[in-house]
Symmetry: C2
Subunit: 144 residues, 2 copies
DNA sequence: ATAGTATAGGACATTGTTATCCTTTATTAT
DNA sequence: ATAATAAAGGATAACAATGTCCTATACTAT
């Protein structure tokens, strides 16, 4: 459904959210360890998130990644759109370039509903809210 | 959502269905042209579909690909499962290996509904039925 | 039987994604 | 100022997905 890059990104954002709520910053090394992602690879991804304003960072000792109030309100939809583009929200299930309401592919009418549901799901999946689920043990990011 | 391979496969199956209803067979060349897919690539895909009994073929002159009554009743779900596997139906949105009802990821509860809807959509999208939509000009596979 | 045609299948090329290595830059604490 | 630390960023490697080339095999028509 999503690229691996995108999966890592969302997981990282949720993890960082937990640290940020305590007012702290977190290093790539710790993030990589906690979300089970390759360190150098997640580094690139976080860089990209920073460049696009979804995440904040500070260099040097005591530095690291963190989220502010605004960023905690961002949703998975923003992350997916940034990393995987909006093909998932707008593209044709059969990969046709011309598929539309007027010239629908044989899956179009069913698929547009699914697409919309996915978008709604992601739009509602705010980073801060998802992190809260971890705190309450109603959701998990890592094997125990 | 689906791999390109899978998109081609579904499109090809729908096209072949139309020919098969007229009792004829169709060559790779024609399929490739009609569904806008690279000839040699779609050849491999059709081979795979044949090997797994979703499609029939005959070599030699007057040969080609075709579908029987049974195959026309197959759904997109079968094709997707064969080519992309069932990760889409069963996998975790965030790529976690341990995500489950007991240890859900933060997206699990919303995602499982979406996953199910996708499966239902694909299960209902039978090859023969989709082909009929083309005949009635209620759906299209190719730019005009 | 033979020539021609169409799929089967092995090998390889290209491209995109995922992952790693190493140097540079910014920041902090001393 | 200096050393230590953490992210930024360029380059490259490994791997998978996509696409192409060429030969072998099966079948048909003559």
């Amino acid at each position: 459904m999503f690229s691996k890059t995108c999966e890592y990104a969302i997981r990282a954002m949720i993890y960082i959210a937990g640290i940020s709520k305590r007012g702290a910053k977190v290093s790539i090394k710790e993030i990589a360890r906690e979300i089970d992602a390759p360190e150098q690879f997640i580094a690139k991804i976080l860089q990209e998130l920073c460049k696009n304003g979804l995440l904040l960072s500070q260099k040097g000792p005591t530095g690291g990644f963190y989220l502010d109030k605004n960023s905690l309100q961002r949703s998975s939809a923003d992350i997916v759109k940034l990393i995987d583009g909006d093909k998932l929200y707008t593209g044709c299930a059969l990969g046709l370039p011309v598929c539309s309401e007027k010239k629908p592919c044989p899956l179009h009418n069913q698929f547009k509903k699914v697409r919309k549901d996915i978008y709604t799901m992601l739009k509602n999946a705010k980073i801060g809210k998802m992190q809260e689920q971890l705190e309450n043990n109603r959701a998990y990011l890592k094997r125990p």
